[in-house]
């Protein structure tokens, strides 16, 4: 029967929807990275581990405290965000005056340690996490059978991305934040507590990763490697979108999800590579990224 080439249009729609779902995760994760980089100039390699922690906290809340998915969606970002605040205060804050490379090495090391600890404690086969009862089942769209939960992932991701963009680009708080990045001394002179703001920004970026982790828990198995396989792709997304660009990371996240989805149909073996090929091309033509300011 016809599969790869000459694929029927209806099957293609299905693949595009799947691409959007993956894009939702890319967008959420790259958004967190962009916030952290844009506001703090820190390349947060711990992001994948924090995504994984979000999923694990969701699992722990259910298994140990009996708190279900909706609680997890709210509490896991808070808990993981709080660990982020501790990490920022105790470690990252000491590195701001040094080259970026040190922040990168520190967060990379932390990621390895966190993943190792979880692997030791929970193994690598992953833990089952069930889709919440309200979102079970699926809707027949005619061209595909879309699980309700996946539709929810797209909606939740779009809402959170837009809200974040709005807060940073369109509110007074966002204006303070952006000002603190450009001229910290001046903003401090106006009586704004800049170090605390930066700490909270890091916590927020981490919370975004944890939020994505909770969203991912019912779809992928909750296992210690779930972040490390995503994070490289997400870094590529950030580079393509333009480092630190909020809107860029959102648009690129969804866009690359779509492109990857199509690649899985036409040339599945290349679906791991296609994003990096695009990254290479973008870097050659627009070194600052699609949405970056050169």
């Amino acid at each position: 029967m016809d599969t790869i080439l000459g694929i029927p249009a209806v099957a293609l729609y299905g693949q595009l929807v799947l691409g959007l779902i993956n894009g939702s995760f890319y967008a959420l994760l790259s958004l967190g990275l962009a916030v952290i980089f844009g506001m703090m100039n820190v390349i947060n390699f711990t992001h994948g581990a924090q995504f994984m922690m979000g999923a694990f906290v969701a699992w722990m809340l259910l298994a140990w405290a009996g708190l279900g998915y909706w609680w997890a969606l709210f509490l896991a970002p808070l808990i993981v965000g709080a660990t982020g605040v501790v990490i920022e205060r105790l470690m990252i804050a000491r590195l701001y005056r040094l080259d970026h490379l040190y922040g990168l090495l520190l967060t990379f090391g932390l990621a390895l340690i966190i993943e190792g600890v979880f692997r030791n404690a929970f193994g690598s086969s992953g833990l089952p996490y069930r889709i919440p009862a309200e979102l079970r089942g699926a809707t027949d769209l005619g061209f595909m059978f879309l699980p309700n939960y996946r539709a929810w992932v797209i909606v939740a991701s779009v809402v959170v991305c837009l809200a974040t963009w709005f807060v940073i680009e369109r509110t007074k708080l966002g204006a303070y934040l952006r000002a603190a990045t450009e001229r910290p001394e001046l903003v401090q002179a106006f009586g704004v507590n800049v170090p605390r703001m930066i700490t909270l920004t890091y916590g927020f970026g981490v919370a975004l990763a944890a939020f994505a982790g909770v969203l991912a828990a019912p779809i992928y198995s909750v296992n210690p490697n779930m972040g490390s396989s995503l994070i490289i792709v997400v870094f590529a997304v950030v580079v393509i979108g333009g480092m630190g660009s909020i809107a860029g990371s959102i648009v690129t996240g969804f866009g690359l999800g779509l492109i990857e989805g199509l690649t899985k149909v036409f040339w599945p073996e290349a679906s791991n590579t296609v994003i990096f090929v695009i990254m290479a091309i973008v870097l050659l033509l627009r070194p600052a990224g699609l949405f970056g300011r050169a």
Binding site: M1, T3, I4, P8, A11, G14, Q15, L18, G19, I21, N22, F37, N41, I43, F45, D99, H100, L101, L104, L105, F108, L112, G116, R119, G123, S124, S125, G126, L127, P128, R130, I131, A138, M144, F145, P147, Y149, R150, E182, I219, Y220, S221, N223, N225, S229, I232, F235, A236, V239, M243, G244, G261, K264, V265, P268, E269, S271, N272, L283, P287
Partner: protein, 415 residues
């Protein structure tokens, strides 16, 4: 001012992303002693095959040494282990360092067929011993067979020999393959396809996914639109778990298509949960609840392995190391250290006998022969307690479970 650090950061970022997977393997211990046999467990300690092999394989090797009690026979045995990260280059480097520098005499376990084939060459070149338990490719006892290697637990022939035949006999005569894109997946797919065609079935399509993968929904949707009755999953460990979970989510099984996992471990069933895994058919060489001896082994094993019950890969490491040590005793420690091929020849000469696999033999091509078992995953209501997951469908006699000696094109057999 803000521009320069920005550009620098991006460059650093890309560079370090490229360097991310480069983490050096653990170093084994040093000095060699003439009366010490050193066994290296080369395995996956950090990724998707960790639970099915990993530290459980190291424990399997240790328990074999404890049960063999080499001190009473006048020699010592040391176990070392390393993580090959599922990469043939890391596996090869570790194998060379172990053989050349650390005095390792035998490498055991070795999940990931790509690593198996790489280490197979090195083992032969250095005249050491490799006993594969987790790796699956039949090439190891086929075109690439070696007088220094033994393939213990299962292979890409024995797995479909049980599951694919049973599925086709049960009416699943049209297939679509979702295959891990590396040596293991290709080999498993080719063997499965052979069984499907030979039993009168047809293959409607196939798709190869990057290894390791996370999102399989796209491939599952392609399988769904093929309308094949059976979706053959030629992948393993975390890839298999995610495929099955996502197939459930997209309602593939509810619409009448059946999933056939070609290589399924008890840890996969555990990771999926019975709710999702129930009804799956699987072929295995070992199930911890099959016999009294298996149960006794399991009771000693799981408290030392974070409660995880032994998989067939762990059992195979135990059986393989036990038999290896018997062969070392037969040829003498000094001779065993000097000539790996002599030890493997002795392993083939001696009949195998251990509590987990029973009596068997090792064929001239290095294939260990024992019966396989076809199991079905229980429904949640049928399970009587933790890790009570499988019910026996039937035993697959050794004569049907393994590729006939003459069909493998192993040069050792032709001459």
């Amino acid at each position: 001012m803000p521009k320069t650090p920005l550009r620098l950061a991006r460059r650093t970022l890309i560079g370090s992303a490229a360097a991310l997977p480069l983490v050096t393997p653990l170093r084994g211990p040093r000095a060699q002693a003439a009366t010490t046999i050193r066994i290296g467990v080369l395995t996956d300690l950090s990724s998707l095959y960790t639970d099915l092999s990993g530290s459980g394989s190291v424990l399997g090797a240790r328990m074999a040494v404890e049960d063999f009690n080499p001190a009473a026979k006048g020699f010592n045995v040391e176990i070392v282990s390393a993580d090959h990260q599922n990469r043939a280059d890391v596996g090869s480097t570790t194998a060379r360092a172990w053989y050349d520098r650390d005095g390792v005499d035998a490498i055991v376990d070795v999940p990931n067929s790509s690593v198996v084939l790489a280490v197979n060459q090195i083992t032969r070149e250095k005249n050491k011993v490799m006993i594969v338990s987790s790796g699956a490719t039949t090439d190891l006892t086929g075109p690439q067979c070696s007088p220094n290697s033994v393939h213990w637990t299962y292979d890409t022939f024995s797995q479909p020999a049980g599951t694919a035949r049973a599925m086709v006999a049960g009416g699943g005569d049209t297939w679509f393959f979702i295959t891990a894109d590396y040596a293991f997946g290709h080999s498993l797919e080719a063997n499965t396809e052979r069984f499907v065609l030979a039993s009168g079935g047809r293959v409607l399509g196939k798709v190869r996914h990057p290894f390791p993968g996370t999102d399989f929904s796209s491939f599952l949707l392609q399988a769904q639109s093929s309308r094949a009755k059976v979706i053959g999953l030629c992948n393993a460990g975390g890839d298999f778990i995610n495929s099955v979970k996502q197939a459930g989510e997209f309602g593939i099984t509810r619409r009448g298509q059946k999933l056939a996992g070609m290589l399924v471990f008890i840890t996969d069933v555990h990771g999926l949960g019975l709710e999702t895994a129930q009804g799956l058919t699987l072929t295995t060489a070992f199930y911890h609840d099959r016999t009294d001896a298996c149960r006794a082994f399991t009771e000693r094993f799981h408290p030392r392995n974070r409660g995880i019950r032994p998989t067939m890969a762990h059992a195979g490491v135990y059986g393989g190391v036990l038999h290896y040590l018997k062969a070392v005793e037969a040829v003498g420690v000094a001779a065993a250290k000097a000539d790996g091929a002599a030890v493997v020849a002795a392993m083939k000469r001696l009949p195998t006998d251990d509590p987990l696999f029973g009596q068997g033999e090792i064929r001239p091509d290095g294939r260990k022969i024992h019966p396989m078992y076809l199991y079905e995953v229980k429904a949640p209501a049928e399970s009587r307690g933790p890790w009570d997951y499988l019910k026996l469908v039937r035993e697959i006699p050794a004569a049907d479970a393994w590729r006939p000696l003459a069909d493998g094109n192993c040069p050792l057999v032709r001459t």
